[in-house]
């Protein structure tokens, strides 16, 4: 890991970490925490969908599993919230592996993979909505009981730091993946499966590792959601909304890039908030804007915000270079 690659990450983390020290407004803190939870879910998606090129439309399956497993362990078995989160991530990873094993073994790719993941998430949603131990349609409520062991904090700032540390851990994990053997093989699989096989890459194993890691991260985001809002039901935990959020953020920020999900999540929700303040009385306006942004990004900036930044940077450099050259010639 070079300093040049790590520096932007450290700056972003430092700025976000300083927010609770400067801002006391609950709505600002709420906003940041919520976006960080989305970021974490999206970072999970990015491992599989961005780096690995296997676009999932059903990351709700992992988000919801994380949230439900943690909620059930805490509320029914009285297990410590941290341990519950660890187990929930493990179960999320297993669900990821199983879905991956079934779909990748069947050779599903592209749109087919996207649709089958969506269907898996829907099956889990219907089951959670109907089963007794998940609280059925009424959902599950976590008792308000502030304390470190319960992962509940009296200050929103403390929760922000918790969410931020998980996001930070995942950022460094993503950066490590990018330079590792696993990352190289995963990108190779994304770009050309056949060529990857010729170079000794076990395509199925690489994809399975990716979906397992991806699912565990997104499950952690589900746990965070639960700890912050203390309530989930099937439409929240396994709803299409989180699948879309998880894929939208990396798409907008720059899919496959380490900073893509966090940049994308803050860009999207920043714009959404802005839209809401201008047209507060119009429901759905923020989401409609997300839809437009998605189409625009796919059409004009397939590498997302970071891609655009990189291009303008290159362009400026070239312009500056040309300018010095001109002045040299003039002299």
């Amino acid at each position: 890991m070079t300093l040049r690659a790590t520096l932007p990450i450290l700056i972003i983390l430092a700025v976000l970490a300083a927010i609770p020290l400067l801002a006391t407004s609950n709505s600002v803190l709420n906003f940041i925490v919520f976006v960080l939870i989305i970021t974490l879910a999206a970072q999970g998606w990015n491992v599989l969908g961005g780096v690995g090129g296997q676009s999932s439309f059903g990351h709700a399956a992992f988000f919801g599993t994380g949230a439900y497993v943690s909620a059930i362990l805490q509320s029914r078995f009285g297990i410590n919230a941290w341990a519950a989160m660890a187990i929930a991530m493990g179960v999320g990873a297993i669900v990821g592996w199983v879905i991956g094993f079934l779909s990748f073994r069947a050779g599903l790719r592209g749109s087919y993979f996207a649709l089958v993941t969506l269907a898996f998430a829907e099956v889990l949603r219907i089951l959670a909505n109907a089963a007794g131990f998940t609280g059925g349609a009424a959902g599950l409520l976590l008792k308000l009981n502030v304390g470190f062991a319960n992962m509940q904090f009296s200050s929103r700032g403390a929760f922000l730091w918790l969410a931020l540390s998980l996001v930070a851990l995942t950022l460094f994990l993503s950066q490590w993946i990018a330079s590792s053997r696993f990352g190289a093989q995963l990108v190779a699989v994304r770009e050309n499966e056949e060529a990857a096989r010729a170079l000794g890459v076990d395509v199925l194993a690489v994809k399975l590792r990716a979906i397992t890691v991806s699912a565990a991260i997104t499950a952690a985001a589900g746990c965070l959601y639960l700890q912050y809002f203390l309530y989930i039901d099937a439409n929240i935990a396994y709803g299409l909304w989180i699948s879309v959020e998880a894929l939208l953020a990396p798409m907008v920020g720059g899919k496959g890039l380490v900073l893509g999900p966090i940049i994308g999540a803050f860009t999207l929700h920043g714009l959404g908030e802005a839209a809401k303040t201008f047209a507060a009385s119009v429901p759905g306006i923020d989401l409609a804007i997300y839809g437009i942004i998605l189409v625009v990004v796919v059409a004009f900036a397939p590498e997302g915000v970071l891609g655009v930044l990189k291009k303008t940077q290159l362009w400026r450099k070239r312009k500056a270079h040309a300018a010095t050259k001109l002045s040299e010639e003039a002299a």
């Binding site: 050309n192 060529a195 010729a198 170079l199 890459v201 395509v203």
Partner: protein, 248 residues
């Protein structure tokens, strides 16, 4: 080292390869030639594990590998290049080669060092940091070769690495191929550029319409009337001989 016994590959009703056999001794450069559509690339696919033959056997260093999947064959030391080059577009040249190097090196510093060395070796030293998609045809062919080489194979299957190159580019790359062999890598190559085949190969197999019709030294094979007919049509050998006689 590599032996292919009686391979038949059927796609529906079409017999792409019918009962073809060949052997490649350790340390040799063996050529596989034949007219377009003869089934050469299909046979390569079978050897490298991309296609499951309808019948027949592939063995490598004495072991039957017919049932092994492609990536396991690569681990065993069989590397192939593709006729239609397939660079990983999102990666730069060094990272492309490193994907091959990672096969035997888990550590990324080691893999990148090997990738650099292999890159220089095939003449891509100056392009290591460029995106793979920016390479010329000749550059992509070299990249294809470099990636396969970076897996440190025992045998290298080259599928028309010279096709689409101009004569001076061919002149540059032929010694590279020979030096790879000289370092102990056995080579089986599909090639249309006869000058290179004559120059490099000790032994040549000729595949036509899915059948092995001739084998021998490049000279023998070129003079074999069956081979001439396979390329130029029935009666061609006869006509050529008459033309030759008239000129004499």
């Amino acid at each position: 080292m590599l032996s292919v016994e009686d391979i038949t590959m059927r796609f529906g009703g079409l017999v792409a390869v019918g009962g073809a056999s060949l052997t490649v001794p350790k340390g040799a450069i063996v050529g596989l030639i034949g007219p377009n559509g003869a089934g050469k690339t299909t046979l390569f696919g079978v050897i490298a594990g991309f296609l499951k033959p309808t019948s027949g056997r592939v063995s490598f260093e004495g072991c039957d590998i017919t049932a092994l999947p492609a990536h396991v064959r690569a681990q065993e030391g069989i590397a192939r290049t593709f006729q239609i080059v397939q660079p990983f577009a999102g990666l730069n040249v060094r990272e492309n080669i490193a994907v091959g190097a990672f096969l035997r090196h888990r550590n990324s510093a080691d893999a990148h060092a090997l990738a650099d060395a292999v890159g220089h070796r095939v003449g891509l030293g100056a392009d290591l940091d460029k995106p793979a998609s920016s390479l010329t045809v000749a550059g992509r062919k070299r990249l294809e070769l470099a990636r396969a080489l970076a897996t440190e194979p025992k045998i290298l299957l080259l599928d028309e690495v010279l096709a689409g190159l101009n004569p001076s580019e061919i002149r540059d790359i032929v010694p590279v191929i020979r030096s790879i062999r000289d370092e102990g890598v056995t080579i089986l190559m599909i090639e249309h550029v006869m000058q290179a085949v004559m120059n490099l190969c000790e032994q040549v197999y000729v595949l036509a319409q899915g059948r092995m019709i001739a084998q021998g030294t490049p000279q023998d094979v070129c003079e074999d009337p069956h081979v001439v007919e396979a390329y130029l049509g029935r009666g061609a050998a006869e006509r050529l001989r008459t033309v030759g006689a008239n000129h004499a």
